[in-house]
């Protein structure tokens, strides 16, 4: 696994975000985010729906254009118009909630296209790397399948293999298991755990609290467009300090809590 992660030969941390703001029209979704992710660090981002987690992740690789602030990836200032954003993105893999595989290509085709077009690798080399990564995610026997013929969990693992085929230095995950049937979640999380253990720098938006607690070094709790609390994952998830974090975690870790309060509200008096 270790040959997966090329070393970053810059003194800058892989991700350094300073005072990031993002508005959609009048709606300010990110209200000043400061965040640094060190090399090899795995950071999970948790928080209620609409708190701006996806927007933050999408701003990191400029799929969403920040309104103001600074985003440095591998030392490159992404908000600087002179920086070749496409170039930097080749080092930053992204995995989406809805997989977003290219439906007109096979699993291996998905892993080859950007290697050929962007990195200009030879066909033989691209195929070899794609095969290696598909085997890595446990899909060596599904290489010539089209996405429509694969389960959700398999599709998401192809998506991870596709991103890894670019030899990224950073991996971004936006709720990679949220669209999966419960029995398929484990396979995807296992691949991500391997990746984390191999030393990949990762930023993971997730609702899987056990994954955050056990795999990530640090967890960030976001609410209303700000980072409310952050800390070592085990600490933040088992003993949160802020009340908002406590309320959120109580709700997601104990589903019966929601039902109780909802029942209480709908009960006639």
């Amino acid at each position: 696994m270790s040959d997966l992660v090329p070393t970053v030969d810059s003194n800058e941390p892989p991700i350094r975000i300073k005072d990031l703001h993002k508005s959609f029209g009048d709606n300010e979704v990110l209200k000043g985010i400061d965040l640094t992710v060190a090399e090899g660090e795995v950071v999970c981002v948790i928080g209620p729906s609409g708190s701006g987690k996806s927007t933050l992740l999408r701003c990191v690789n400029m799929l969403e254009k920040p309104t103001s602030g600074s985003i440095k990836l591998l030392g490159a200032e992404m908000t600087d118009p002179d920086v070749e954003v496409d170039q930097v993105r080749t080092h930053v893999g992204m995995v989406f909630q809805s997989f977003n595989l290219f439906p007109n290509m096979t699993a291996i085709g998905n892993c080859i296209i950007a290697q050929r077009q962007v990195l200009k690798r030879s066909k033989a080399e691209a195929i070899e790397i794609a095969k290696k990564n598909l085997e890595l995610v446990g899909l060596g026997d599904r290489m010539s399948y089209h996405p429509a013929k694969l389960s959700g969990g398999q599709q998401q693992r192809v998506a991870i293999a596709r991103a890894l085929s670019m030899d990224p230095k950073i991996m971004l995950f936006d709720e990679p298991t949220a669209a999966l049937d419960p029995e398929l979640v484990g396979d995807v999380l296992a691949v991500m755990r391997d990746l984390a253990e191999a030393g990949m720098t990762m930023m993971v938006v997730t609702h899987e609290m056990m994954f955050a607690r056990d795999v990530s070094d640090r967890t960030i709790f976001m609410d209303g467009g700000v980072i409310v609390e952050e800390g070592p994952s085990a600490e933040l998830i088992t003993a949160p300090k802020e009340e908002r974090t406590q309320v959120f975690l109580k709700r997601v870790l104990d589903p019966t809590h929601i039902e109780d309060s909802e029942l209480g509200q709908t009960e006639p008096d």
């Binding site: 993105r89 930053v92 992204m94 296209i113 962007v118 991103a163």
Partner: protein, 267 residues
Amino acid sequence: MSVLSSLKPTQRARLGTIASYVVGLGVLLFVLLTADWPTITKQFFNPEVAASMFPGIITVALRNTLLYTIVSFVVGSLLGIVLAVLKLTGGPLGWFAVGFIELFRGVPALLTIFAFAYGVPLAFGGNQIPGGSVGAGILGLIVVTGAYSAEIIRAGIQAVHSGQNEAARSLGMTQGQTMFWVILPQALRIVIPPMTNELVMLLKDSSLLFIAGATVFTKELTTFARDSLSTHANPTPLIVAAALYLIVTLPLTWLVGRLEKRLDPKR
């Protein structure tokens, strides 16, 4: 009146349908019984006139109709892809594309073909265009097809899920690479049914080339039929030409229906 108003709306609607069938059948019977059948047969279904059209109507006219249609469709569709991409990219070229599309969609195709058939040879020297004024007319047909298919293809591009664009861009692909390798292949699949429809329309619109004044060898179906009609002073050639159009268009229309069902994402 009181009987009618006592009926339920669905019953009244059914009664209306029945009434319209009765009236239609009556008119048909009246025509069948009073028409001058020997004259009609001689005028519209005259076997000698029909026979005299063969084999030219196949070897020249139908062949040309298919040739002009296919050339216009292939080149016009490529033009449509370029226009659609330019329009979506925006900028000065985008505005050019919008102007182009709106102009040739807003003007009657006949007028465009007429303008090309006469204007292009005048502007560039008549003998230099392959096919002469018919060749120039085909340019007009290409331009019209480009404008119409551009809007179809633009809709197809926009129907591709935005996640596809994000996935490709996140891999470092440029906007152009993403369009060419990821978006267009999917968009073109989506537009197969409407583009096949466009092909049917184009096949029929190729008849507008009659305005270009074809020679013996460049005639397409409609021009051929019209010339036969004047030669024989008999409209049978129109019926023969119509039948030949139908032989080509009906299977295509059927195919569109099949494709629409097969590619329907809801199924």
